[in-house]
Amino acid sequence: MFPTPVEKSSAAWRASYQALLPIALVVWLLPLIAVAVFSIRPDADFANANYWGWPSAFNLLENYGAVFFQSDMPRYLLNSVLITVPTVIGAVGLACMTGFALGVYKFRANLLVFFVFVAGNFVPFQILMVPVRELTLDLGLYDTKTGLVLFHVAFQAGFCTLFMRNFIRALPRELIEAARVEGVSEIRIFWYVVLPLMRPAIAALSVLIFTFVWNDYFWAIVLTQGVDSQPVTAGITAFNSQYRAAYHLMSAGSIVAALPPVLMFFLMQRHFIAGLTLGAVK
């Protein structure tokens, strides 16, 4: 283990390490802690320029209540859910199949097709922007959640394919060979042999794609416009112009907007980290 484990070091270093940990954490999260503190201050503190003194009152319920009951925030949150969940299902579903095709079969174009998926996944969004916006307009899906979902599914399929294909290649081949010898059709091999083994990969990808899509901002502002279809990342800017200079509400709103992926991460931490390393670091 590197560096030397603290339990093997001097008592002095051990104690200072234990003390250093929380201090380092507070410093690291300082900008966020500042916003969290803002979000429970009353309006009056900002009027009196009491930014960093002791809050004159703790308005946790009032501020967050205002976000949830007096603003459009719940609608934006709902939009985000309705965009993110179908995208996760669609992209991961498609990638189970493409990953299977590229991970199991040997055919001439295999590597080429795979590399197109991988390269496409890394291109800058701007090179897609004008044509994708046109396509969405032509399909009559501009400013709809469906339009956004279709694009996200297609784009995320690139990353998901990379991930799934590598995962499937690491599975024991003998299982598939044995099933073939038994005369099991390829479709049934996919469904009954490979898919059950892909559960960990499906979990990891789902958490990851959830976070990616939830946090998307660029496509939200390119493909949608109003409160009917915009997700919370785009909604927060509208929210902020509604509550201009009401920093306690803007802070509370930001925290609400940021929360769902954070919850997802804490609930599914193991899967999340497995996904992030692209399966490259075992």
């Binding site: 283990m1 590197f2 560096p3 339990e7 590229l102 079969y105 701007q126 044509p131 396509l135 390119v222």
Partner: protein
């Protein structure tokens, strides 16, 4: 990797009453199946990713407001880029982003080494250090915009303690890009940290012990024994950081909208501004900017694919 062996024909179960199609499928399914499984994903990907890239190249040769007719102008959009100061500012900022963003890699390694212990509660600490990466960049941008605020921002409070400031980081053409990059480094460092933490888990303890017996300590141990074993993590960290740097859009958009005086624009943001904002709907000109950005990104994509190709052939 074991090669795919075609199973012996005789081993296949005969269908009870094979239809013409069923028989064809059964005979050729090993050839057809991959295309069948690829079809839906490949269709979507071709429609929404591959074709648009080609279309963008084409659109960059036209003058087009997105509604009316397109007028073919050849390479004139690119020529205009050459004389466009805003373009060069954005390109310069992109280079600054690329270089400074790489600080996330040593930064992430440093935090990972700091946290790679087994004391009580360390798991919670690791998760909380990773926190910034999970938050959307829009919120990171807002958080940092307030952090830098000259009237109530914590940044200037801290400067005040040392008798400095106040500095309006986001209002100053000299500091603004660095201020935004610092905000971007926050989640990116967290990402690199988690990559290294996972990598450190896989470091071979025997090699470390052997290094210790040979008298390697501290920096030398890190450089000669640990880092070589972390190469896969370093590679991924490098790839995601470069891509993150070139994709920087959200932070610029939320924190400054390119200002002041366009000094914090990057290509990704300038393209959006040209093509889809109140500054006009110049799709062709925007597409030309996107092509330049794509060309820069292509260098790294090619590098990544070459590495992958070698790994594939190496197996």
């Amino acid at each position: 990797m074991v090669a795919v062996a075609t199973p012996p024909r005789g081993a296949k179960r005969k269908a009870k009453a094979p239809t013409a199609f069923g028989g064809y499928w059964r005979r050729n399914q090993l050839k057809l199946a991959p295309w069948l499984f690829l079809a839906p994903g490949a269709f979507f990907f071709a429609l929404y990713v591959v074709a648009p890239i080609l279309q963008s190249f084409q659109i960059s040769l036209y003058e087009w407001d997105g509604l009316g007719t397109r007028e073919y102008v050849g390479l004139r959009n690119y020529e205009e880029l050459w004389w466009d100061d805003a373009f060069w500012t954005a390109l310069r900022n992109n280079v600054v982003w690329l270089v400074l963003y790489l600080l996330a890699i040593p930064g992430g390694l440093f935090i990972a080494l700091f946290l790679n212990q087994t004391v009580r509660g360390i798991r919670i600490y690791k998760s909380l250090f990773f926190f910034p990466f999970v938050i959307s960049q829009v919120v990171v941008g807002l958080v940092f915009a307030w952090f830098y605020d000259p009237t109530f921002g914590l940044f200037n409070e801290i400067l005040g303690v040392f008798g400095l400031g106040p500095v309006a980081v986001l209002g100053d053409p000299d500091y603004v890009t660095y201020g935004i990059i610092a905000a971007g480094l926050w989640p990116q460092t967290a990402y690199c940290m988690i990559l290294y933490l996972t990598g450190l888990n896989a470091v071979d303890p025997e090699q470390i012990e052997a290094g210790r017996l040979d008298g390697a300590k501290g920096w030398r141990m890190l450089w000669y024994v640990v880092l070589p074993q972390l190469r896969p993590a370093t590679f991924i960290a490098f790839v995601v950081t470069i891509i993150g740097a070139l994709r920087s859009f959200d932070l610029v958009s939320v924190m400054t909208a390119g200002g002041p005086f366009g000094e914090s624009r990057v290509l990704a943001y300038y393209m959006f501004e040209v093509a889809l904002s109140e500054y006009g709907f110049r799709m062709g000109y925007g597409a030309a900017i996107a092509v330049v950005l794509f060309a820069i990104m292509m260098i790294y994509i090619a590098f990544f694919l070459t590495k992958m190709y070698r790994d594939e052939k190496g197996v």
